[in-house]
């Protein structure tokens, strides 16, 4: 519980929900007849509506990016390090919007929501949504909020993929794209990790073909394994070594299979705190969205070609010890942006925390982030052309 909320926090926040009745056609060919999007916003939208920032969340993130829901909250939102008064995403200047993605499990329509056709939870019948679908749904949210163009769209990891997609789908609606610890597509190794996670969930006897809620059960073992595996890949060998080493919980070997090393205890704790908070079908769906994302695919695997219509200015950031979304993937993206003569800056942050570094208060990272955000003008922009969804 925060005894007092620090001055550089957005403080107490309340999520908002918007219901959309206009059907959403998905890339898979399915249609969502109607849906809800839950989002949070921080700061104030200027009269000219030019200071809006969209935050796209990653796999296990949600709309609660900053602040607290109540004084009883143990932890603030997931990107408290970056969002708040005086922080890189400065809520004194910007109006910050962060939605929970479709297919999520924190309030926007997803597998745990009731399927209006059956009256039961969607479960496995919730259609697979893609990064492109998310971006379309976020554009509708922008319409509802009266935001023609985002000053910046910002995201890390899977969130960074959404940023890239925004710049491709709605070039007129995004001034700056900030892509952190991301990639324009997953590598085979990365897809392989996702597949192991999915197999862990889908082979859990309590999974019931995804209809576990109807059976009043949760595929806890599978979800726990998926989370543990994921967590290992989000850290680096070095950071795990520094954090746990070979430290033993009881200081001695017990010659058994219970928790002995601190790192085992940590992984179990991470798994425990994930189960019950996160939905297994959502996990499956999010990993699929990650695997499918590849904007170059429709352009003969030429990313430069896929970015032809992009006009946003880019800031790309990677972390040296991130092996899940390695700096090389960011360099590939920078190369494709340069091929299109776009404005781009790229920083490779020396950090030992692995992929998770994007969430950490690493001073140089936050300085770089802040310096770039200062470039974003919040003054009225010259008249933008009317925008149609493409």
């Amino acid at each position: 519980m925060p005894e007092h909320i620090s001055e550089d926090s957005v403080g107490l926040v309340t999520p908002q929900k918007i219901h959309f009745n206009q059907p959403l056609e998905l890339e898979s060919g399915h249609t969502l007849p109607s849906y809800d999007l839950l989002y949070e916003s921080y700061g104030t939208l200027s009269a000219e509506r030019t200071n809006a920032i969209l935050i796209c969340h990653a796999l296990s993130g949600n709309h609660h990016a900053a602040g607290y829901h109540s004084m009883e909250d143990r932890k603030p939102g997931w990107w408290e390090t970056a969002i708040g008064p005086g922080k890189p995403i400065d809520t004194n200047r910007f109006f910050v919007v962060c939605p929970n993605n479709l297919g999520g499990c924190d309030g926007s329509t997803g597998p745990t929501s009731t399927n209006p056709e059956t009256g039961r939870p969607y479960g496995p019948d919730f259609p697979i949504v893609t990064v492109g679908d998310w971006v379309k749904s976020q554009a509708r949210l922008a319409d509802e909020l009266g935001i023609d163009s985002w000053g910046a769209v910002i995201g890390a990891s899977l969130g960074g993929m959404q940023v890239l997609q925004w710049s491709i789908t709605f070039p007129q609606r995004i001034q700056h794209a900030i892509v952190i610890a991301a990639a324009s597509k997953l590598t085979a190794q990365n897809i392989a990790f996702n597949e192991v996670a999915r197999q862990a969930i889908r082979t859990d006897p309590d999974f019931h073909e995804g209809r576990y809620l109807e059976h009043d059960m949760l595929p806890e073992r599978g979800l726990r394994l998926a989370r543990m595996l994921g967590h290992i890949t989000y850290l680096s060998d070095e950071s795990m070594g520094a954090k746990f080493g070979r430290e033993l919980r009881e200081g001695k070997l017990n010659y058994g299979y219970e928790v002995e090393f601190q790192v085992e205890s940590y992984l179990r704790y991470q798994a425990d705190s994930f189960v019950g908070k996160f939905d297994a079908n959502t996990y499956l769906l999010m990993t699929k969205a990650l695997d499918y994302f590849d904007p170059a695919r429709a352009h003969g695997d030429d990313l430069g070609e896929a970015l032809r219509k992009v006009s946003a200015k880019f800031c790309v950031i990677s972390f040296t010890s991130d092996w899940r979304f390695s700096p090389q993937r960011s360099r590939d993206l920078v190369r494709a942006l340069l091929d299109n003569d776009l404005n781009v800056s790229y920083a490779e942050i020396t950090a030992h925390q692995g992929h998770d570094a994007f969430l950490m208060p690493i001073p140089h990272y936050l300085d770089i982030f802040h310096a770039y955000m200062e470039r974003i003008t919040v003054y009225p922009l010259p008249g933008l052309p009317a925008i149609e969804e493409s």
């Binding site: 360099r331 920078v334 190369r335 340069l338 091929d339 003569d341 404005n343 781009v344 800056s345 790229y346 920083a347 490779e348 020396t350 140089h364 300085d367 770089i368 310096a371 770039y372 200062e374 470039r375």
Partner: protein, 203 residues
């Protein structure tokens, strides 16, 4: 505030050209060129604090190690000028980087501290020690300048590589460009500045 060698570079650059600045430091030169000559460009820089300063200077900065070459990022003939000011001497493979400069750009502009300058010669000759001067302030063991050369050395390398020198200027320790310097640039010039291109038959 530009360094004297950077001032000289500005005189050599056409407005509205496309520029790549290798080792762009805090981005001062590129910012100046952007504001004064309306150039388009990118700066490459390895050092963390310089990358941050470059971002604050509003330029496009790409954090990268020049010793990896430029193939990661740039196609042939992408720029009108590729600039490298006071950076060549700190590279692992200066000769390869010269090739890279003229692969991605039409012309190269380089400035470097001339090791043939009389002050360096005197220190080596009479003290028998590695020179430490205003232009080369570090000791031999902690200097980033691992590939120092003289005006003559540089011109020999260009000749060997089929690089045509289009313009040369040397400035003395008071950053003046004096007629006297032209008599013996390798002895009197503290900093050398070159503009060059590849001879067509060497492509």
């Amino acid at each position: 505030m530009l360094r004297p060698d950077q001032d000289m570079i500005c005189n050599w650059i056409h407005p509205e050209s496309r520029i790549l600045d290798l080792g762009c430091g805090d981005g001062t030169l590129l910012r100046h060129l952007t504001e004064q000559l309306n150039v388009d460009g990118y700066g490459l820089e390895l050092d963390d604090s310089n990358v941050l300063s470059s971002l604050r200077n509003g330029i496009n900065v790409i954090q990268s190690d020049l010793d990896r070459g430029l193939t990661d990022y740039f196609d042939d003939d992408s720029f009108d000028y590729v600039i490298m000011s006071l950076t060549l001497q700190a590279m692992n493979f200066p000769d390869r980087l010269l090739d890279e400069m003229l692969r991605v750009g039409r012309q190269g502009i380089i400035t470097f501290p001339n090791f043939g300058h009389w002050k360096n010669r005197i220190q080596l000759m009479f003290k028998g020690r590695m020179p430490v001067t205003n232009a080369l302030p570090n000791s031999w063991y902690n200097t980033p300048n691992i590939h120092l050369c003289t005006v003559t050395d540089f011109e020999k390398l260009c000749e060997q590589k089929g690089i045509r020198i289009l313009e040369r200027s040397v400035i003395d320790n008071r950053h003046r460009e004096q007629p006297l310097l032209k008599l013996s640039p390798n002895l009197l010039g503290e900093t050398a500045i070159y503009r060059f291109e590849r001879l067509p038959y060497h492509q």
